[in-house]
């Protein structure tokens, strides 16, 4: 059982953090980020060419994280690899002892830095979950042929409670869970109202019992950053009063952290939320403060 799974099963409020690999080969970047997070988070979640911008591969970065003794969560998106490549990378990662996988569909390449490229989307995230689940439990590839060897994999999926059609979101979550998702990482929560309504639905369907739900949070550095998320990032809902708060704030960074901490406090209260996933995009250094501030430090870790 992966450390992340174990801690979740123990019923502790989990903290994970996002780590974006560099646009280059120097592993120090990841190492630094990881050591910085050492002891503050239960796992780091390593992005797979997020927003379709080419970066050091998630697979390799996960191995580097492991070297540093940090539990990695390997993100896998369906944009760049077909079922052949995805299955083979999955096997490879398992062989190297990576135990947590986050299956995502992936941003469209037109959002990234190679918009001219041809996408794959051979399968979608839900199908990917199903394939990995079958590989782990049934020991078969997608085509039904048997595979050899042990697979220890804790499978996760993303979900965005804020995108349209809202009513469909919970249904989609249910599909992901029945497809094999054991933990769920949500899009960053700013609008707690929508989120609580979402969680209500989730509880109604008993999904919170079937999977561990980690709520995403983003500490924002500045007003412009917040506005960017409000206006530019699809599927992110930022209430106006937060924008106001940021505008008013004397020290926006401080305010950003404050907002983030308040959000976490609220999230802790929501039944069914089993942890937070901190996405401090290119601001990983702030994560320790947040974990401390949220009284989530120290982490007990694997027993």
């Amino acid at each position: 059982m992966s450390a992340l799974e174990e801690i979740l099963r123990r019923g502790e409020f989990v903290v994970t953090a996002e780590v974006g690999p560099p646009k280059g080969t120097n592993r120090e970047v990841i190492e630094k980020k990881c050591t910085g997070l050492q002891g503050f988070v239960d796992a780091v979640n390593i992005t797979d060419n997020q927003t379709a911008i080419v970066r050091l591969s998630s697979f390799a970065s996960c191995l580097i994280a492991k070297d540093k003794g940090i539990e990695p969560v390997m993100q896998m998106v369906c944009r760049d690899r077909n079922r052949i490549a995805l299955q083979s990378d999955f096997l490879g990662a398992c062989a190297w002892g990576v135990e947590n996988f986050l299956c995502l569909t992936g941003d469209h390449q037109s959002m990234g830095n190679h918009p001219q490229s041809k996408n794959v989307f051979d399968i979608d995230s839900i199908q990917l979950l199903q394939i990995f689940k079958n590989m782990r439990d049934e020991k078969v590839f997608q085509n039904g042929e048997p595979l050899k060897g042990e697979i220890k994999a804790f499978l996760g999926a993303g979900e965005n409670p804020f995108a349209d059609p809202l009513e469909f979101r919970v249904i989609r979550l249910a599909k992901k869970i029945s497809a094999g998702a054991q933990f769920i990482q949500t899009q960053a929560v700013f609008d707690l109202e929508i989120f609580s309504r979402f969680m209500e639905e989730v509880r109604k369907m008993g999904l919170d019992k079937k999977a561990f739900i980690l709520a995403g949070v983003i500490p924002v550095k500045s007003l412009s950053a917040l506005n960017y998320m409000k206006n530019e990032v699809p599927g992110l809902v930022v209430p106006d009063y937060l924008v106001e708060r940021m505008r008013e704030a004397k020290d926006p960074k401080e305010e950003g952290v404050k907002i983030c901490l308040e959000t976490i406090e609220q999230l802790k209260k929501i039944e069914g939320v089993r942890g937070v996933h901190i996405m401090a995009i290119s601001w990983e250094s702030i994560v320790p403060d947040i974990v401390r501030g949220a009284n989530l430090y120290p982490r007990s870790g694997r027993s």
């Binding site: 469209h108 399968i123 979608d124 995108a163 059609p165």
Partner: protein, 216 residues
């Protein structure tokens, strides 16, 4: 219907050698209907080329994707040095197969299979994946109309019913959801769609249909 749009004039001009006799050959079917390669456009282009100093003729055949029709233009084609074909990619190739020794240039970019929504607006509807499943999705094809061809629901980028990739396009999944909700058949969306067999699409290599029963 096949939708195509005219190549930039500059590009077309770059194909043509000075002093060449040019035939602008229109196609009387799909590209006429989508107003990019019919007789009107053919006449238009040839008069534009004349203004540019070329000696041109124009002609429009029923369908350039049929050798029989192309061969009817034999005489006219014999008289010219080069042809600008205002047909879809299929037409251009069919024409080239009929006239192996001629210089033939595509005047259009074939864009998609779609339908006219209103005067002057065409939208893509089919992708030719070779295995139709629209009935499962409220008659909105997710393979074509979802930027990521998602079969199990919308991605996280759908906002106000629009697609994050092309904000002026509807999110296919919004449409699917609305339609099924109206028919209140939402439960069909609960089913997990297994990975698709893409071998019927062009990923299975060049496609070909043989009907033994109709081959005499």
């Amino acid at each position: 219907m096949i939708i195509a749009e005219r190549k930039p004039i500059k590009e077309i001009l770059s194909f043509l050698g000075p002093g060449e006799k040019i035939l602008v050959l229109g196609c009387g079917t799909c590209v006429t209907v989508c107003m990019s390669g019919g007789e009107k456009e053919a006449r238009e282009l040839s008069s534009l080329l004349r203004l540019k100093g070329w000696e041109t003729k124009d002609l429009t055949v029923e369908r350039q994707c049929e050798p029989e029709f192309n061969l009817r233009a034999r005489e006219e084609i014999a008289k010219v040095d080069a042809i600008v074909s205002l047909a879809c990619g299929v037409g251009v190739q069919a024409l080239a197969e009929c006239f192996p020794e001629k210089k033939i240039f595509p005047g259009l970019n074939t864009t998609f299979m779609g339908m006219p929504k209103e005067q002057g607006l065409w939208e893509e509807r089919c992708w030719g994946c070779g295995n139709c499943i629209v009935h499962l999705f409220g008659y909105v094809c997710p393979v074509t109309r979802c930027a990521k061809s998602l079969l199990n629901g919308p991605c996280g980028g759908s906002k106000n019913g629009k697609c994050e990739v092309k904000p002026d396009r509807d999110c296919a999944w919004q449409l699917i959801y609305d339609r099924l909700k109206k028919e209140n058949r939402l439960e069909v969306l609960y089913a997990l769609q297994p990975p698709r067999d893409w071998s019927t699409s062009r990923y299975g290599g060049q496609r070909k249909m043989i009907r033994e029963d109709v081959r005499l």
